[in-house]
Symmetry: C2
Subunit: 256 residues, 2 copies
DNA sequence: AGCAACCACTGGTCAGACCACCAGTATACA
DNA sequence: TGTATACTGGTGGTCTGACCAGTGGTTGCT
């Protein structure tokens, strides 16, 4: 006689926690920015140990659903949605994603996003974009600042597209590219030309010229890719001496 | 006299684990499918407690980089790449992603993917696609089986595109849609028409007709969306009585 | 040879203690 | 009075060591 498989209701404690929090989110009890009860207390109310609760919270935090702040508390994420932000780099290293593939993915998504933004963008988006373009022109001599406004501009375009899912996907890819970009931007030149292009994109979107917006964004990204490739080339030559832990493996995108 | 901020090398133990494993992956010491040392042993070698090690492993597992099997061991993921697969549903619930947005995202990505597949697809992909199309025709009377081959077909198109990143993105979205689809497919009709469309897409890709591949894929997805919408309508009417835990909240995509 | 019981090994959970961090408050000093 | 400092309570982070719970190979009986 076979022992009946124990119910295990919800197996793994981890999933019990995840599902519980999930239901709290779905029925609106938990809103973005809200704070979870203290771990000790919450664990007791769920009838599980604090360790198990922490496993579940860790799971949610890893996916970007929760933000944990040491000494403060655990909160529901409230920023722009991210999809496994941190994971792309790792998975990229694991599966050998190539740099050109990331650029291609970004090109496809973002040019389409620009078209949608031209179609659906609201006045508030136009204003925010204009603001960032202005900031870009103002910080042409400060690459690091420039980069910030560059990123902000693209993020606004994402929002203007009216599709948060596509925005989240772009965000995932962009954040993976960002780390590299930050290292090379110091060497970049022609930031003025870049700013000009952003301005043109902005104008096309505001004019609701979808085809033009798509075309310009595509052109802009191609040029950016080319420029970054060149900057990286310089970077490699400059940093050549320091050859730590098999630099060839760095060909893939997964570098820190 | 300000106390110097402690080095904290790599702060959080969690990240120490993650970075360590990351470097093992990047330099090839750890390959997909490989197994990690037992927790007790690994923890000791990293000079941290088993609990902290488990936190780090949990983080990686949540992102799909590692697979943990109770009583067996911890392994590096070896399947097709996934980006925060589980997260989309949660994040969707959190940010109120709408069904049409998921379809739109899928439409954009997958039609572009079809074009790339037409451009770059190799003979092996063509063969695999033909195989799945045949299976679809063979299982027209068995919706559940049909759905499997449907999914496989699209997955092959993804692979044929030659861009694993885009493939991973599509996979993320599709898997979120899949759960719904499985519930409604039972009621679907006109599977023959669907199979015909897949066949046409296959022919366009094999003929390297990028524009046609894109157009057909787009058309196919629009029809699929329409059909599924109708099936869901039937579903809702049929299942109306069972109204568990605020069904209105289910409008968003985040349903289990 | 076949099968059942067993056992060593692996991850999963628990409990309780202590550490590290942060924010607000009370206190000391100018 | 105003400002800097120290304190304190509460929160997450880590550690220890024990025990629970699946897995899969080994052993030993029939």
């Amino acid at each position: 006689m076979r022992r009946v498989k124990k119910d295990n209701s919800e197996t793994h404690r981890t999933m019990r926690v995840v599902n519980h929090i999930r239901s709290l989110i779905e029925d609106g009890t938990l809103q973005p920015g809200d704070r979870l009860p203290p771990e000790r207390e919450f664990a007791q109310s769920l009838k599980i140990s604090r360790a198990s609760l922490r496993t579940g919270i860790g799971y949610l935090a890893a996916m970007g659903v929760m933000k944990v702040r040491h000494g403060v508390g655990t909160f529901v994420a409230d920023g722009p949605p991210e999809l496994g932000k941190a994971s792309l780099g790792l998975i990229g290293a694991l599966h050998g994603f190539q740099s050109w593939q990331m650029f291609e993915a970004r090109l496809i998504l973002e040019s389409q996003l620009a078209a949608l933004a031209a179609e659906r963008g609201k006045q508030e988006h136009h204003a925010a974009m204009a603001e960032e373009v202005a900031e870009m022109f103002a910080s042409i001599e400060m690459p690091t600042d420039y980069l910030i406004h560059d990123i902000l501009f693209h993020r606004i375009v994402s929002q203007a597209s009216g599709n948060p899912i596509l925005a989240a996907l772009i965000e995932t890819i962009t954040s993976a590219l960002y780390d590299d970009r930050r290292k090379t931007v110091e060497r970049s030149t022609d930031l003025r030309e870049s700013a000009e292009m952003h301005r043109e994109i902005y104008r096309a979107i505001r004019a609701r010229n979808t085809a033009e917006a798509r075309r310009l964004m595509e052109q802009h990204l191609r040029m950016a890719q080319e420029a970054q490739g060149m900057e990286q080339h310089l970077e490699r030559k400059a940093v050549l001496p320091r050859a730590k832990t098999k630099p060839e493996a760095r060909t893939a995108v997964g570098l820190s």
